[in-house]
Symmetry: C2
Subunit: 238 residues, 2 copies
């Protein structure tokens, strides 16, 4: 356990159309950090649905959040609607300015980008969206989890579990993180070797990319528009 | 994709005090099986809280469930209260009798045991509860994911993700499972090697065991009582 024994306030933003495991994977880790509270904030108190329908309910509205020590921001297709939502972006900016750690999972990096948090910082996101990071002045990394100052980015979806264990260690020391990992019996054994576009069979990479194509086109248009408004030098379109 | 193109009905049981990732980890995989629906059933329609407070809401009550093709049963400390709840055990037994696959994650194996489903079958559960499996006539396995007939058991917590990918392959073929794994970017890189009592530092194993001790004692008493009622030869107490 690290010598720091101040209580930690951890909070996450919940929104319609998130990818639930970007929230629930890290929740499993972060809600077990000793001497901490983990609360979920929403624009309203209504339940929301993840992109595949799971119903989740926030604990409180955004304006009720104290300054958080750790801001956890999941991703998912619903991130699209938030990238031009000034109320949410302002909240993210305000919280990020005072937080010890901002932890972004998956495509939520694009919301951080839209909030102007990624300028000249190493970042990552879901493999289908990594090429969009330069729209926000970010430096895309190949790592699964990237730490740059107080910003921790995890790549797609399940990378949030790995990232959360690292965040737990940053906040409370390795012993605390290891105890959580043991509780979670986290010794993964994926039955196939298809979790990355580098290892999956090419025809499967193509089929996943094809099924995400509409979303990818929409995302790129939004990234272009938002990046332009923020005044970044825009990359040529992929 | 496997030649089977019948729509699949997948359902999970939600209960107070579950460990949310036993539900949400496999949900991430199973809700993406082609040509399937995934619904969550509860004793009532009220939201429930996981053991660390996450609010989840069922879609329908148990009595509204059709015969499921895949029954997904998460674990967590709340399993304790269900082990003598005949309404729930009856539902599990009834669904299991007609399901193609019964998929048990973590301590939910104890509910399967209480429903009489584990007799003379290979099974596993969270590492702190594995010694209880013989109370239900089960044969404890060391594997992370165990398949015995139509029963698939995953060990603690995050093993549910590995198990769910295997279940997806059993139902729809390896190509479908690999596409889901790629979408999830599931190439885990745990930052520490502490996920199993075999690899974690001994003092951390001891501290996790100590913090679970009250629960372990209660669980053993329940397992003893329920196993006796079911008429199994009881192991000597650990």
């Amino acid at each position: 356990m690290s010598p720091e024994d101040q209580p930690l306030k951890i909070g996450a933003l919940l929104f319609d159309g998130l990818d639930q495991i970007d929230l629930t994977g890290p929740f499993e880790v972060l809600s077990r950090i000793p001497n901490s509270t983990y609360r979920i904030y929403g624009k309203s108190l209504e339940p929301v649905r993840d992109v595949k329908g799971l119903q989740l309910t926030p604990e409180a509205t955004l304006n009720k959040a104290p300054q958080l020590d750790l801001l956890h921001i999941p991703g998912g297709p619903g991130q699209e609607a938030l990238m031009e939502d000034e109320a949410v972006l302002g909240w993210v900016r305000h919280q990020a300015a005072g937080a010890r750690i901002v932890f972004s999972v998956c495509t939520r990096a694009l919301i951080c980008g839209a909030a102007g948090l990624l300028k000249e910082r190493q970042a990552t996101t879901h493999w289908t969206a990594r090429h969009l990071l330069p729209y926000f002045g970010a430096l895309p990394s190949d790592e699964r989890v990237v730490v740059d100052g107080n910003l921790v980015c995890a790549a797609g979806v399940t990378a949030g579990i790995d990232g959360a264990l690292l965040v737990a260690a940053m906040l409370r020391g390795e012993e605390a993180a290891k105890a959580i990992q043991l509780y979670m019996q986290y010794v993964p054994e994926p039955p196939f070797n298809a979790g990355s576009p580098k290892t999956a069979p090419p025809e499967i990479v193509e089929s996943v990319r094809a099924s995400a194509q509409d979303l990818m086109i929409r995302r790129e248009a939004t990234a272009h528009r938002v990046g332009k408004r923020l005044g970044f030098a825009l990359p040529s379109k992929a």
